[in-house]
């Protein structure tokens, strides 16, 4: 038997975009009927209407071996999700083909087909059927699913009364018990608490190793790709840039991300409704490339924008090395419970962050505005390229055991500057938090 689970050859997907001035647009019958003469005329004259073609995938070829976990990495809009949708048969490719050996289970969302008005039990059967399980199969594994999700007590409760964590756990539990030879997973592991996330990853590893299944996983999280995947494909603009071991592909990907330029606000990957971000500066500059001296330990981050409602907002920062591994995490919201509620109107966040002692080299910062532990609002991805200058004494991070875990970063102690910042503000119109940590600077691990 062939040891290839999926063979993708020259796969391409073309979308046609319509240009409209006002937001999302649905075609209407009225427009099509009224526009018919014009389109006929345009067709006769050889003109094309205002549609633009866009190749979400082009000439994509790769193989997924049996018993392998393949990661798909790449920036937003690189075609990762489109690829998963084509492999899941949700959308048809425009050209090329994929040969699939085995039953495919696709997990493009947590709780496929879940309905809030149904009970946990009913949702398990519905979701199981949608994912491709036969009814007796669901029945056989029912107890296992419920136990994995840990919702035994609430199994006959209507799901709208579940906490979001329970909902997500039950959703993943159904999918995790799917007996498919190939699993397609789209970032769904990014839900739930850390303990459950670990359990999901362990479950996936287990499935792959013990039963020779294959998994294709799309992820933004380099740590997950590194720990879970054997190989990875880097997609860029719908094309394959690199195929190789997970660390090779990640390295190539982060090299390229580090060389990007532009403003930090251009790098917003996801923004919740109600948020408008006007300006993000790092040490006073809006550029995504930041040069700092080796002995410069404190950086200042300012976020200015407008809210259209009440939100609890705090800043989180992750520091990555050039291969995409997380080095450190800065979040006063998690660390000291410092969060702020902002009303509708303009808002401003200002933090001083104490960096670990970095040696010369390239690093990346990812910013995120969140309600800590509850919800993410605005995600900037690994968008800031931090270049550390200095003499050539090797490069990297100068902390023993840096690869043994993340470090928590502290706010910088600098009360004088904060006073100045505060007096700059018009207290009537501007919400603001000025991070002020009087605790000792430096590192904690």
């Amino acid at each position: 038997m062939d040891d290839v689970a999926i063979r993708v050859e020259g796969l391409g997907k073309r979308f046609r975009l319509r240009h409209t001035s006002s937001g999302p647009h649905y075609r209407t019958l009225r427009e099509d009927l009224l526009g018919l003469p014009r389109r006929l005329f345009a067709g006769l004259c050889g003109q094309r209407d205002g549609r633009e073609e866009f190749w979400a995938l082009k000439g994509v070829s790769f193989e997924v071996k049996r018993g392998e976990v393949l990661g798909i990495i790449g920036r937003n809009g690189a075609g990762k999700s489109t690829l998963l949708k084509v492999l899941s048969r949700i959308i048809d490719p425009t050209c090329g083909e994929a040969n699939v050996q085995g039953r495919i289970g696709s997990l493009l969302e947590v709780g496929t087909g879940f309905h809030p008005e149904l009970t946990g039990r009913e949702n398990i059967f519905l979701s199981g059927a949608l994912l491709g399980m036969r009814r007796d199969e669901v029945r056989r594994r029912f107890d296992e699913i419920v136990a994995f999700a840990g919702v035994e007590k609430f199994i006959d409760t209507v799901c709208k009364h579940y906490s979001s964590g329970m909902y997500a756990r039950l959703g993943f539990a159904v999918a995790a018990h799917l007996d498919a030879e190939i699993l397609l997973v789209d970032e769904v592991l990014a839900v739930g608490d850390a303990e459950f996330r670990d359990r999901c990853q362990a479950k996936m590893r287990n499935v792959v190793e013990s039963r020779g299944r294959s998994v294709v996983v799309v992820s933004h999280d380099p740590a997950l790709v590194r720990s879970l995947c054997d190989r990875a494909v880097w997609l860029d603009g719908g094309r394959v840039r690199t195929i190789g071991s997970a660390s090779e592909a990640l390295h190539a990907y982060y090299e390229s991300r580090l060389s990007e330029t532009g403003r930090i606000t251009d790098a917003i990957e996801r923004i919740a409704p109600g948020f408008v971000i006007e300006r993000v500066t790092l040490n006073g500059s809006e550029s995504r490339r930041v040069l700092i001296a080796r002995d410069q330990r404190v950086i200042e981050i300012e976020v200015v924008g407008t809210l259209s409602g009440c939100f609890r907002v705090a800043l989180e920062v992750r520091l990555y090395d050039s291969s995409g591994a997380v080095l450190a995490f800065f979040s006063p919201g998690h660390d000291s419970g410092r969060v702020c509620d902002y009303g509708a109107g303009p808002f401003r966040l200002f933090y001083k962050m104490r960096l670990p002692r970095l040696l010369r080299g390239d690093f990346a910062l990812a910013l995120e505005l969140t309600d800590p532990n509850i919800q993410g609002w605005v995600t900037f991805g690994q968008s800031i390229h931090l270049e550390v200058e200095g003499t050539n004494v090797g490069s990297g991070i100068l902390v023993a055991g840096a690869h043994c875990g993340w470090q928590m970063l502290d706010c910088a102690e600098d009360s004088e500057r904060n006073e100045v910042q505060r007096s700059d503000l018009d207290p009537g119109s501007l919400n603001s938090i000025d991070a002020l940590d009087t605790g000792h600077g430096g590192l904690q691990s």
């Binding site: 099509d32 309905h115 009913e122």
Partner: protein
């Protein structure tokens, strides 16, 4: 690889061109999904409405009563020698089934856009599940009809054997048109608003509150071109043993229903692959 490994299904994902085969075998393979979706619709409807099953009984009964007061008592429309309530209720049963299937199947794809963009299964299942859930209302109405027939001591005898056939033709027509509407709804969102209006007009163009016998003889062949004429007259013939059903009407109705289902299925298959992109 172990010898005990079951045969793995192999398939090829590629661009589909033009007119694809209907692939009913695949729909059959996914029959659990059809069943679970229909079951969900039924459960939700009875769970979310406070009156639940009472509402389903009350709706056709009230409509029947209102129609018999206005059209039976005031307008004095003829009713084939039967009490007008029975006459109009038999027609309403047929019409409500058609109407229910059209509406549920018609809006089903847009309503399930979240599923369509997140998981694969034959899309045909979605409107079919909608149609299946509409059959529950019909069953309730049927029970009500039996009660009315007993109360009025009416019995159509052997004509009752016609009922399953009338039901089949009704469903064929409704599902066929429902497939058209559901697919058109995905492409043209304004279709959703036009549908109730069109159905309203269609109801008065069909013999629901009046019998086909009321239509002048020279116009009847034209009336028969509306397949619902034949369907509704067949319901009356089966339940009450009297109607103005004739050979031409039957032929036109059956042809219309088969044509609707065949064209609906073909059109649905043709545009099916675009659903996930439009929604």
């Amino acid at each position: 690889m172990g010898l005990s490994l079951p045969a793995v299904p192999v398939f090829r994902i590629r661009a589909r061109s033009g007119w694809a085969a209907l692939n009913l075998a695949e729909v059959w393979a996914y029959r659990d999904v059809l069943w679970m979706l229909a079951l969900r619709d039924i459960k939700l409807r009875y769970r979310q409405t406070a009156l639940g099953i009472v509402w389903v009984v009350l709706q056709p009964l009230l409509a029947g009563l209102i129609f018999s007061v206005i059209f039976g008592r005031f307008a004095k429309l003829p009713s084939e020698g039967q009490p007008y309530l029975l006459f109009v209720f038999a027609g309403l049963m047929g019409w409500n089934l058609f109407n229910g299937v059209m509406q549920r199947a018609g809006n089903s794809l847009v309503a399930e856009s979240k599923l369509i963009t997140k998981v694969y299964f034959p899309r045909l299942i979605i409107p079919l599940a909608g149609a299946l859930s509409a059959l529950v209302d019909f069953t309730v109405a049927m029970v009500l009809m039996v009660v009315l027939l007993i109360v009025h001591h009416t019995w159509s005898g052997v004509w009752l054997a016609l009922l399953p056939l009338a039901l089949l033709v009704n469903l064929t027509l409704a599902v066929g048109l429902g497939l058209w509407v559901s697919a058109l709804n995905v492409r043209y969102r304004d279709f959703m608003y036009a549908l109730p209006f069109l159905l309203q007009i269609w109801m008065y163009a069909s013999p629901v509150v009046y019998g086909l016998s009321l239509v002048p003889v020279q116009l009847r062949p034209w009336f028969a071109l509306n397949p619902m004429s034949g369907v509704l007259e067949a319901f009356r013939q089966a339940l009450l043993g009297a109607s103005a059903l004739d050979g031409w009407t039957i032929a036109a109705t059956v042809c219309g229903a088969v044509l609707a289902l065949a064209s609906g299925a073909i059109y649905f298959r043709r545009v099916e692959q675009e659903f996930a992109e439009h929604l």
